[in-house]
Amino acid sequence: MLTLAPEHAPRAAVFAQPDALGFAEYLLHAHGRRSIVYVAAAEPARLPPAFAERAIVIGAERLASAAPQAGIDWSGAVVVATLASTSVARVATLVSGLAAVAGLGALIVVTTPHRIENEAVFRDCLASVGLHPAFVGRTLADNFRRERSVALAVVDAPLAALLAEPPAPPQQRPLAVIATYNDADVIAQLALQHLASGIDLHFVDNWSADGTYEILAELARAHGERVALERWPAGGPVEKYLWTELLDRKAEIGSAHPGRWIVHIDSDELWRSPWPELSLAEAFGVAERYGATAVGASMFTFVPTRDGFSAADEPLEFFTHFTYPPHDSYETLLRAWRQPESRIDLSSSGGHEACFAPRSVFPYRFPLFHYPFRSEAQARRKLYRDRLPRFVAEECERGWHVHFTELGCDERFVSLPDLLHRHDPATFRSSYLLEMISDAVMRRRRGSLLV
């Protein structure tokens, strides 16, 4: 929070493409780079002062004419540019400059200045000069009106090269370790989605009493070695929801599979590939070949806009609207890892982060769809019977389970669609690109939309 006297106030409260600027800072840290270079299309660049102070601001002509001699370590730089100019010739100059610094190792975030109807055209345009984006999508045009209208591309040459290869999952199929407790309405549908995307499943059922175990047993029979099932704790049902111990059990299961990708998934979650043309397993294959040993996720929580979800419904079709995570604690969801020789630590962070060393985190997050409350009846059973009375007091005191404990007795779980974001399966990955692959939501929550 700043308090600004008029004489010190910036000239305008409006600035362009706020998430693109924040994304450059995200990449700076995620890739361990050293500088941000902002290529200004017009002088003076209208940037938030704090960003301008941290970035090297140069003109398009300088980028094109003197890239190698500019005194900038391009292999340690994140370059942000907008293809804005009054002439085609100047745009061409800028694009050729970007191609030059990409060749020198720069990581590039490039946007269009105005609305673009078809971002595939933008992709093709960049590709024609040798800039092959790893991601193309849309971002906010400005910090006030926030139309998702301008196109944004991420040019990460090594990643683009991997994506150009034929899709291939890791040598061993990734294994999801999933704890379940009374999830009969949704567990089969989400399990089948994961199986179809090339993920094997190991279920740890916490002695469900609603038929979940029986559904899983049937699933295991149908899918053979791809689905494992155990009841936990082995001694029988317990009164409390032993989350710490459950996380330790998950880590233990993972430790039996050195070299394999392990994904810690909750029973109401669906991990997805960030690239529509790749399965989830193939996406882990890309991350692995990129050199990563851990992958994080961005969570999108789906909220029912009508009541009555049942086991006969497909979550991806029934739930049409989502919201962002309610708490900052969801900023880190580093829950997929390539299993090292020894057991990793999952429980210290309450399951939010797989801790092990050395660890190389894939710089782009995968989307994680979350379906915690699916109908009024299921939500009330889950909240008031299966969770709140069963939480361990010490875990609550550590701030865990806050997404449940902050809900009151007067909650309703079906919402007006107007209060949520609409999920369009065909355009989601493009429209919410930065929310998906980076920490854009949390940055906005911390004030990135303000000068």
Partner: protein, 346 residues
């Protein structure tokens, strides 16, 4: 004729309205005016403004409440509070820094800062204190800044003076408005023609059902009286006593309300009875949904059902206050409806 979908949508709107009106901001500056808070929370929830400018902030109760609502409802609103504070508002700044970073306090007059914003860019303007910020002319430079989804709220429209004159001008310019009976007066005009549909439906509903506006106004008055007491209670260990009184009071109001609701049918949609039912549906169902249905089918009095919900004591404190506010107001509204029906019969 209402379809099943219409009824479901009406129920969701009722819930959205009730929840926002009955919500208590987690923190507020002490000894602050709080009358307008319920309606401002509701506006944030339904209008989901991308940007909010408050002219006149003072100690900041309404500003903090709006910021808290923006956080709770994940509207990603950027909030600007403009006031000519004699000194740096450090305490308020610290509070906002914790509860809502996407907020800025701008020290100076509203005219000075109007140029800071682009035309057509601001979704919500709240003129909180016309007297303190240059009188009638305070809003004028902001009108071009309003977006096509804009709403404008004005406090103190019944107090005469500058705010009342501004309201007259706004009401003449923008015919779509809400004017609940909040003490000292809070008026809202819909200035844009592309406001979110939830807000459109609220305006439409209020136009059809005056009880909605009465409910909003009464809740504002109640919040003004009770919020400072709540915060005082927190600080002085008086909370238990205050909440105990609230609980007893709420139970009395509920008993009275249950009795009359059992006696008569208040119709299908958009009536106080429907609001009441929406509120009752928000109470926790005892473990199994079927339990509620079974008891209801056997005609068990509503107050016994609600008493039966007392299964989770740790979650009751906040709802006690909410219940009191709702039950009191519903009784008041029904009293008025009865009086009006009696007068018509005569």
């Amino acid at each position: 004729m209402m379809t099943e979908d219409d009824r479901a949508a009406a129920g969701l709107l009722e819930w959205a309205v009730c929840e926002a009106l009955l919500r208590l901001p987690p923190v507020l500056p002490p000894n602050a005016r709080t009358t307008e808070i319920p309606l401002m929370q509701l506006l944030v929830k339904l209008a989901r403004p991308r940007s909010y400018v408050q002219l006149g902030v003072g100690e900041g109760a309404a500003f903090v409440a709006v910021c808290s609502a923006a956080r709770a409802y994940q509207t990603e609103t950027i909030c600007f509070g403009i006031d000519d504070w004699p000194d740096e508002p450090e305490t308020l700044r610290e509070m906002l820094g914790t509860c809502y970073p996407p907020a800025r306090l701008l020290r100076g007059g509203p005219r000075e800062y109007a140029a800071w914003f682009e035309d057509g860019s601001v979704d919500a303007v709240y003129l909180a204190d016309a007297a303190a910020i240059e009188g009638v002319g305070a809003l004028e430079p902001w009108l071009p800044k309003l977006s096509s989804a804009a709403v404008v709220a004005v406090a103190g429209i019944r107090g005469g003076g500058g705010a009342a004159r501004i309201w007259e001008e706004l009401a003449a310019r923008y015919p779509v408005r809400l004017e609940p009976g909040v003490a000292a007066g809070l008026g809202v005009v819909v200035a844009g023609d592309e406001v979110p549909s939830a807000l459109e439906r609220l305006v439409w509903t209020c136009g059809r059902e005056p009880n909605y506006l009465a409910l909003i106004g009464a809740l504002g008055d109640q919040a003004a009286a009770l919020l400072p007491e709540r915060d005082h209670g927190r600080a002085n260990e008086g909370a238990a006593r205050v909440l105990g009184e609230l609980r007893a009071h709420a139970d009395g109001e509920l008993a009275r309300l249950c009795e009359r609701v059992m006696r008569r049918d208040y119709g299908e949609a958009f009536t106080v009875g429907a609001v009441f039912r929406a509120f009752l549906r928000r109470e926790p169902e005892p473990i199994e949904a079927e339990y509620w249905e079974t008891l209801a089918a056997h005609g068990t009095p509503l107050h016994e059902l609600v008493a039966g919900f007392d299964l989770l004591p740790e979650f009751r404190a906040a709802s006690d206050l909410r219940r009191l506010l709702t039950f009191q107001e519903l009784n008041r509204a029904l009293d008025a409806a009865d009086r009006s029906a009696g007068a018509a019969a005569c």
